[in-house]
């Protein structure tokens, strides 16, 4: 049975110190409200898994939530650097972390393999690159039928997947549309899943297109209005390109970043309250 919980309860129940968390959403539908809640609860020693760490993981890394990051592109999309990720990697700030680095094709395949119950993903990738030298999980096997050399990496099997979607119905069926990234795969690959949604409605309308994740594949649904900001929710609100551009200044210096996070994220009662403060102070 899908549970309907408030986001703080859902995070308390499924995100515990030491567990692995895949928070997916490829530029679209990034579950920022859930990320902020993990930071607010001060949960540490996490293994964070995301193709593009984006601001959601930059915040969590900077606030000391992560022991390890699994990723494939760690920039601020269209803007430049993620400074908290860079400081963690380059200088061990706020502490030393482990980094498991992939390319997008590998990450997508690892999620799909996890969803398919496979121990590993088989694809053609990394040929001639230096990634196999720095990531011992990249291995090569011979195809038993053709003899072709193929790339293998372990499947992603996170303890918990967190995604954001447009809507859920009152049974917990999830409806999403627009750019869908690897969210469905992440949910199916994970032991547990939390889905935050813009709104809970009487019924989701799959005939209007989009994707449905059935209720029996989801553990918890939480209403989190505007919960993807500063990314976006197709049909609800646009990406805040302006905030992505401002994030550089906010996050560049560690001390200023921590003060900002304490003021805005930690001290807020909930995500909408945080957004209201951002609006009041001219960040959106």
């Amino acid at each position: 049975m899908t549970e309907f919980l408030e986001l703080p309860e859902a995070v308390k129940k499924y995100v515990s110190p030491g567990c692995s968390v895949a928070a997916e959403g490829f530029t679209h539908l990034i579950p920022h409200a859930a990320g902020a809640e993990i930071i607010r609860q001060g949960i540490r020693h996490l293994t964070l898994i995301r193709m593009t760490p984006d601001i959601i993981f930059d915040q969590m890394i900077g606030m000391g939530c992560a022991d390890k990051l699994v990723f494939s592109w760690g920039g601020n999309p269209g803007v430049g650097s993620l400074f908290r990720l860079r400081d963690a990697y380059e200088k061990g700030v706020p502490h030393e972390m482990e980094f498991e680095e992939h390319g997008h094709a590998a990450m997508a395949n690892a999620f799909a393999a996890g969803a398919a119950g496979m121990p590993c993903a088989v694809f053609k990738g990394y040929r001639g690159t230096q990634y196999p030298e720095v990531n011992p999980k990249i291995k090569f096997i011979e195809c038993p039928f053709t003899g072709e050399e193929l790339t293998v990496i372990p499947a992603h099997r996170p303890d918990v997947a967190i995604i954001h979607a447009q809507r859920a119905d009152r049974q917990g069926n999830i409806w999403m549309t627009g750019i869908l990234g690897v969210q469905k795969e992440a949910v199916l690959a994970a032991a547990h899943s939390i889905v935050t949604v813009e709104e809970i409605v009487d019924s989701v309308d799959e005939s209007s297109g989009g994707t449905v994740i059935p209720r029996w594949a989801v553990d918890v649904v939480c209403e989190a209005r505007l919960g993807a900001f500063p990314s976006y929710t197709e049909g609800y609100y646009d990406r805040s390109n302006a905030f992505y551009q401002k994030w550089g200044e906010i996050s560049k210096e560690y001390d200023r970043f921590v003060e900002w996070m304490e003021n805005y994220v930690v001290a807020s009662e909930n995500f909408v309250h945080y957004l209201a403060k951002l609006k009041e102070d001219g960040y959106v």
């Binding site: 390319g103 990234g181 197709e234």
Partner: protein
């Protein structure tokens, strides 16, 4: 292209214009964000209206009306013929061999057009941690051809990459083929100074075009390895007035309706 330019233009504009002209009218192009996205959007508004633009977020046949800031802007999914999942994008469409041209940038390039977008310095203790691979290694492996767009100076055109993120002609002399990657590899490197193309035998980059006002000496000085120069150097045509007008109008939108949807602080408590 007889219409001569009236206004001045900067080297980056020349680079983007030169790159856009290399896209075929009916090309199917996998686009990285930044300058490649600018060049492809320019091409679709000039000589290549049927260009099929593919962004790695899963949008096929994308026709953005404004320049996207990221590869997953709402403008992309709203203007795409189809939106597919990221695993489908990389497995079926890219690895399956359906995409003709890959369009990439990088932080460093070597004489065989191999690319680094991972680190400057040592991998474990780098001077600069760059964003990383993204889709680049497989874009360069599985697109039929690759175009590379980056500024030319001794820091970017290096003797040896700090990290091999993406294979171009690998070690030259046909070694790319031995890696069992199907695409032809980089067919042109477009810079702010000119255009380089790999020698068909050795795979080494050769300077084949100079942009207006640039000398071969300047390109040689901007390259950390002894740069080969073609016997007959072509001169890139200046950007036309139309190209510049369209290019300058291509700016990412900062408009978002999010502020209108956020309640005032007093009302947001519970």
């Amino acid at each position: 292209m007889s219409e001569r330019v009236q206004t001045a233009y900067d080297p980056e504009e020349m680079m983007v214009v030169a790159a856009s002209r290399l896209l075929e009218p009916d090309d199917v192009v996998f686009i990285g964000i930044g300058l490649p996205s600018k060049a492809a959007n320019l091409a679709r508004r000039t000589h290549a209206p049927d260009l099929s633009m593919i962004y790695e977020s899963g949008t096929l046949d994308t026709k953005p009306t404004v320049l996207p800031l990221s590869i997953g802007d709402p403008e992309l999914s709203r203007t795409a013929k189809a939106v597919v999942s990221v695993p489908e994008m990389f497995s079926y469409w890219l690895q399956g061999g359906w995409i003709r041209t890959g369009f990439l940038g990088a932080a460093q390039i070597d004489r065989f057009a191999n690319l680094n977008s991972t680190v400057i310095g040592d991998y474990r203790k780098p001077k600069v941690r760059l964003p990383g691979a993204g889709g680049a290694p497989e874009i360069a492996a599985f697109c039929h051809r690759t175009l590379v767009l980056l500024r030319q100076n001794p820091r970017t055109f290096v003797e040896e990459l700090d990290f091999m993120t993406t294979v171009g002609m690998w070690r030259g002399e046909g070694s790319r083929r031995a890696l069992n990657v199907p695409g032809l590899g980089p067919q042109a490197v477009i810079t702010d100074l000119g255009i380089l193309e790999p020698d068909t035998e050795s795979g080494e980059l050769v300077l084949t075009h100079l942009h207006p006002g640039v000398t071969a000496e300047a390109a040689i000085e901007a390259t950390s390895w002894p740069l080969r120069v073609a016997e007959t150097l072509a001169r890139t045509e200046e950007p036309t007035k139309k190209e510049l007008e369209i290019l300058r109008a291509l700016v990412p939108s900062e408009a978002s309706n999010i502020a209108d949807l956020i309640p005032a602080a007093g009302e947001a408590g519970r």
